[in-house]
Amino acid sequence: MTEMFANLSLGFGVALTLKNIALCFVGCLVGTLIGVLPGVGPIATIAMLLPITFGLDPVGALIMLAGIYYGAQYGGSTTAILVNIPGEATAVVTTLDGHQMAKQGRAGVALGTAAIGSFVAGCFATLIIAALGAPLTKLALLFGPAEYFSLMVMGLCFAVVLARGSILKAFCMIMLGLLLSTVGTDLETGQERMTFGFPPLSDGIDFAVLAMGVFGFAEVLRNLENPETRDVVRTKIGRLLPSWEDIKQSIAPCLRGTFIGGTLGILPGNGAVLGPFASYTIEKKLAKDPSRFGRGAIEGVAGPESANNAGAQTAFIPLLTLGIPPNAVMALMVGAMTIHGIIPGPQVMTKNPDLFWGMIASMWIGNLMLLIINLPLVGVWVKLLQVPYRLMFPAILIFCSIGIYSVNNQPVDVAFTALFGLFGYLLIKLGFEPAPMLLGFVLGKLMEEKLRQALIISRGSFMTFIERPISAGLLLVAVAILVIALLPSMSKKRDEVFTE
């Protein structure tokens, strides 16, 4: 314990220099401002801004990048709430209730709840990393391909609960997401799959392209068709910040979300992506009246947003303690560290303690900055909703186009997004919800990879998933979720819940 405080004070000593505070602030601010552009998610934001940190010293550069990361993440949630465009997989859940709240004139409350929830989650996550970072890495090493596969199966079962309409249609969307995730070059053999022989498809479908199409563009089309619904957003604007009542309602979801998101974030292989989905599932299950979910329930924003932020932070654990990046954002961090001559590895903590603890301290400072930057900005964002829609959607379109182009500098990606916009519009017309499809898509790639790895290692024996205790436990949870969702005695209640 005393060691932890000694370490933290070393960290705060590094992070609290005027220069580093300024870098953290600038990082958070720039990250928020770029991340809030529709079409620009955290990965794109960090990739874009990576070069501007090259001129700094390593500690300063990483503190600034971490700030950019938090800012971008929060900015992504802002677009999810305001215009229903998730910047990344974890913000998909926020669109469900956050955007509904905005439509009800409660955009300010949703944004405020997201900011406060993220701050609380960030504080706890920082403490967890400081206290348990090193021992928790053992958990990451317990997860082999078999465990991951079972984790993904469990994650897919969450998607069933995400559904707002028919559960059968939710299943359809999950499977469609899985199917879409198999497009592209096969990892194992290098063969092209379902690409029509078209080279830009050989790397598969980009998440940003798919999400921007089926959420962003399709939402624009839906709004153009129903002028009434889009005007609701700008005519009624309620209070800007959450009331005491709202905060009381969000505390428990927020703490549960922090715990779930923080735990999943430690796993390498992007476990953090499951955090918000898991949190949403649990809140919906615990709620007295689950029918409020999908119609602007504040718990549906507070829980997942906390889970998201906690996971974003604990995802640093495998990077800082094992030297192994758990997801694409952390892989960019590896690049940033390497450019500054610090090659991440298991010894970063002992070889560069000032960097390690400085970064952890700056995580907390970054979260505080986010709160300071964002609470006053809530008013500005909400004002943006008053821009007439006839100007708002062309603005969304130009930002989306530039953002998507900039991810890979590939013009064809923009055209693909338009294609998926059409696809998303078709889904709306057919009464499908896109959220389960995106979850299926995100998990599909990992799931196939892990299934094949596990079976190659086990020489084709399915028993590997049951013989390994963690894997078996996860599969049991998955079965339990499915049984609860499908049990005949429950289905009556479910019909009430799921029929609109």
Binding site: L179, L391, F393, A395, N409, D413, A415, D495
Partner: protein, 172 residues
């Protein structure tokens, strides 16, 4: 596992055109996927081939689609709603135009030079803006110029992204 048990009336007829269309949509997509993955090896459990999962997912999609279509004959549900081409053409068309002009392209005899963001930006705003029923042209033109200038300053100069501005005019 389905909607509105009360309405599960006797007699077979199309009770939800939306669900029927959705079911057929799933079957068509699954058929397309099966066609595209026909040459991919399925492999064995010991060594799963590239075709095993796509085919498995496609069959499940087809099954779910069939169930959905079947249910549309038994349970009442929503009707298919109308389709608005105006939005599709202008909004999605604007994005396609951006993709085609930002770096230029060549398809057969058709050749578009690399126009860059100073051209593609206003095009996106102008074309997509036409989708709104309450479009005001003068306002839209001013807005297009303002947005493009803002984006050029932000992305090209403040962030230093390698996005072409107007290679035919400025060389960058």
């Amino acid at each position: 596992m389905s909607l509105n048990k009360i309405d599960a009336a006797r007699g077979w007829r199309i009770r939800s055109t939306q669900d029927l269309a959705a079911g057929l949509f799933m079957i068509v997509l699954a058929g397309l996927a099966l066609f595209l993955s026909r040459d991919l090896a399925t492999g064995t459990l010991r060594q799963i081939g590239p075709g095993m999962l796509p085919k498995a997912f496609a069959w499940i999609c087809a099954g779910l689609g069939a169930l959905l279509a079947f249910n549309s004959l038994r349970y009442n549900g929503d009707k298919l709603a109308g389709w608005s081409w105006r939005g599709v053409i202008f909004v999605l068309g604007a994005a396609v135009v951006f993709g085609l002009t930002i770096r230029g392209f060549e398809i057969g005899p058709l050749k578009v030079p690399q126009l860059g963001m100073l051209v593609s930006g206003p095009l996106v705003v102008l074309i997509s803006g036409l989708a709104a029923e309450d479009v005001r042209l003068k306002e839209l033109v001013i807005f297009a110029i303002a947005m493009t200038t803002g984006c050029a300053l932000l992305f090209k100069y403040a962030l230093g992204l390698p996005i072409p501005l107007a290679p035919w005019l400025l060389g960058i």
